[in-house]
Subunit: 282 residues, 4 copies
Amino acid sequence: MNLTILIHCQDQSGIIHNVTGFISRNEGNVIYLDQHVDKQAGVFFMRLESEFISEINVETFKSQFSQELAERYGMEWSIHLGGDKPKMAIFVSKYNHCLYDLLSRYHSGELLVDIPFILSNHKDLGNIAQQFDIPYYHIPVNRENKAEAEQKQLKLLKEHQVDFIVLARYMQIVSPRIIDVFPNKIINIHHSFLPAFAGAKPYHAAFERGVKIIGATSHYVTEELDAGPIIEQDVTTVSHTHSIKDFLAKGRDLEKIVLSRAVKLHVTHKTMVYNNKTVIFA
Amino acid sequence: MNLTILIHCQDQSGIIHNVTGFISRNEGNVIYLDQHVDKQAGVFFMRLESEFISEINVETFKSQFSQELAERYGMEWSIHLGGDKPKMAIFVSKYNHCLYDLLSRYHSGELLVDIPFILSNHKDLGNIAQQFDIPYYHIPVNRENKAEAEQKQLKLLKEHQVDFIVLARYMQIVSPRIIDVFPNKIINIHHSFLPAFAGAKPYHAAFERGVKIIGATSHYVTEELDAGPIIEQDVTTVSHTHSIKDFLAKGRDLEKIVLSRAVKLHVTHKTMVYNNKTVIFA
Amino acid sequence: MNLTILIHCQDQSGIIHNVTGFISRNEGNVIYLDQHVDKQAGVFFMRLESEFISEINVETFKSQFSQELAERYGMEWSIHLGGDKPKMAIFVSKYNHCLYDLLSRYHSGELLVDIPFILSNHKDLGNIAQQFDIPYYHIPVNRENKAEAEQKQLKLLKEHQVDFIVLARYMQIVSPRIIDVFPNKIINIHHSFLPAFAGAKPYHAAFERGVKIIGATSHYVTEELDAGPIIEQDVTTVSHTHSIKDFLAKGRDLEKIVLSRAVKLHVTHKTMVYNNKTVIFA
Amino acid sequence: MNLTILIHCQDQSGIIHNVTGFISRNEGNVIYLDQHVDKQAGVFFMRLESEFISEINVETFKSQFSQELAERYGMEWSIHLGGDKPKMAIFVSKYNHCLYDLLSRYHSGELLVDIPFILSNHKDLGNIAQQFDIPYYHIPVNRENKAEAEQKQLKLLKEHQVDFIVLARYMQIVSPRIIDVFPNKIINIHHSFLPAFAGAKPYHAAFERGVKIIGATSHYVTEELDAGPIIEQDVTTVSHTHSIKDFLAKGRDLEKIVLSRAVKLHVTHKTMVYNNKTVIFA
């Protein structure tokens, strides 16, 4: 069996030595270790995968880890059992490219998650959910019913024990009502190279400005719009020959790849968040 | 002999046909033609290179072009004789990477310009100018003497009949006093992927924001800081493992390549400016 | 109505002038013109889009074009009516990522083609064809039955009046039997940065060689394996941390994007082939 | 003081734990640790930087490291004192872009090396050496005198206690006579995306093949031409509009950046070689 351990704490001497010793004493073998020290903040980060030849009791392991290491170093930590499939809810509006990309990866076994449902403020993409045999909930959102709609969303998220949410071009702002329940667990794709062109209609703004490169950014959702910790970005070149329609088409290819990469990083526990930035152990 | 013709005007029927006919009647052969229509603005752009087997009188050619075509279609236009070397002044402060890159291209014959002088508000890079045998003028600039310093600069620029200016990490804001004399003829390199991180210390701001990609942007200088028409941009990836110092080092490589590309596009008459954007016939 | 004209012929004086004149006399307006001269080969290429305010008779137009221009200049040419949807057959084996990418673009109206059928030497992807309501033909291919299998394929291609074929990770070598019927009309995706790693198992070879960048290449199929005219290529970085499995996963994202781009270029008549190379008027 | 430790050995349990313990007992603090396991080969790699508050005796440290760890685990290892400047010889022929790039980085303190001399089979770049005040040795090489010329080169390399050699577009094949003395210590830049277009005139071959992307590759020199362990690669897009001359110009920008990156990785002890591949701890 495999365990993945994520740690961050104040930078101190001896952490690696003692964590690897703990693994050894539990008859585990470190098969991957990556660490990072943010020198400005004085914070230590580590991701470690270990292999255990015989089955161990994970709860006992966690409790010992907590007592012997986490308390001593003041760690924030999590331990994940290899093979666990997190439950991922997908929120969409009308664009289908990110949804198709996620579902085809899911369908071919590349994306190791369960998808309890797809949720939308529109009916349009219901047929795609049907293509892939996934429940589709249509919850319209408007200025008047937003609080109520989000209560319905939360109810669904709880009922299905959702672990994290992917906003696959969900054209609504998610309020703290939901963000607070899923801190660093809502992944958005923004269709620009943030922080350039935050907010609405970024391709139009990019066209107007005459940039020679456009981008897409996947980030965790925080209260401040388009300002959460960036997980992944990518770009592509454009020129005066491209119309806004061309920007949109090129952007779709960026968006779906960037979002899927970010989701995979999240699912494989390769992201850590600190000071509104990410450490990506890729 | 070769002529390069740049045209822009309101989009109308028959322009290409009539311009190519004019070239033909002058016993020229079109060896390159690129055109673009900005449909939003209704504006037509064309860049055309022609080869003339026998020498023609360029002044006569220009005057006929003006009468037969430019007036009829309301063109803004310019005609450039192949082999002409524009006079390029370089402004620097203390960073040498862009300067070295420009000078080594100049020295090896890749960049076909004359460089009458290098100008700086500091003495530091005088030795590089000396390495390449180019006059170096040191004109200190501070809050008090800015107007006076720019008068001195203008005097030098006029005396040397400078055609265009390259700000090769010149850490001063150039005022309208100079911009107005060199419209779309001052090329700056900004050390970010504009419009993200305009203004001072962009690498620090990029580091703070936790972006995964940094960039550099070369643009024509206009009155609004870092907001002129973009000529060229490029980017490179960064991660949490990179310090600000790493951002700076990676950025230097971007800056020098992006600036040199923009200068070469300008020198070969491949840039046209309209609505604060560029058409790049590359 | 819109017409797209593709031309190539020996480079001669006056072609652009005379073609644009022909358009004008037919009351058309040139809305896009791109041309290229291969100086080594002395060959002229042009792509031209024109808009005709009133309906014109396309057959008459073609016949006049042939008499007045094509014969005179010895042109190879084609004229395409805007809005026509070519018929595209897709050949697959067991990998689904390219198929999903093509079908989702087709389904959302981004890829303007008809898809009469999907053909495979395996049954595996039949369910995806069903998801998108497209006929799926299963024609097993092995060493013994290859000639016979290709006869069946040809029969289907003819019956459905297929215009071009996309090999979306079809793991069989297509023989001249089919290539000769579809010259420069079979688009393949090869999972390497050609000409590096032609042939089988390119990711394994790339891993073995320790490259730092992997790629994908879409090209027209010719008799020589993986040696046809390249339409589109793209790359992504890898490092020692990536296993062959990681190469495969990163490669899938390249392959699907590169193939779809190539298909779109073909469908919009932006590719021309000469001397086993492409001119891409993108 | 800082020490950088590089290790590789058969993968075994407990290495990280015991190495970090050794550092601790010597009152060092790990400030960077990166490790990699090549699962196919069963080999463990580690790079570790430690900070020692008080000066330690490096020879004693090395000797203890050897006894307590290296012998036990069968390690190949090296320990490097922070701040040491390796001696780098540069070999050139007639192209100056890589030379200028290296020298300008050296001159501005970005590249922390000593450069005892530049060596060439031609006189052409002597003036650049002079610009930067570095001795320039001209040793002509031809078919007849090659052995003798290499003896002269070896003599110079020994006299100046050169640590590693950079072939900055040195257009001669280096023989085992020199390679054997500098194993994995000769860095070459090849002007293609290896393994595509190994050998002479790669840009011409790339042009002929009609690729849409060209590249450059920096690698350690081994006996087999252009087949040594790859350190760094980068690419740029090209199209049918680019002539061979354009390929060469775009290539120059790639070559100089890729070579300088590789040299910096080597100088900062971030490269390890195994099975003709590199592990790059960047």
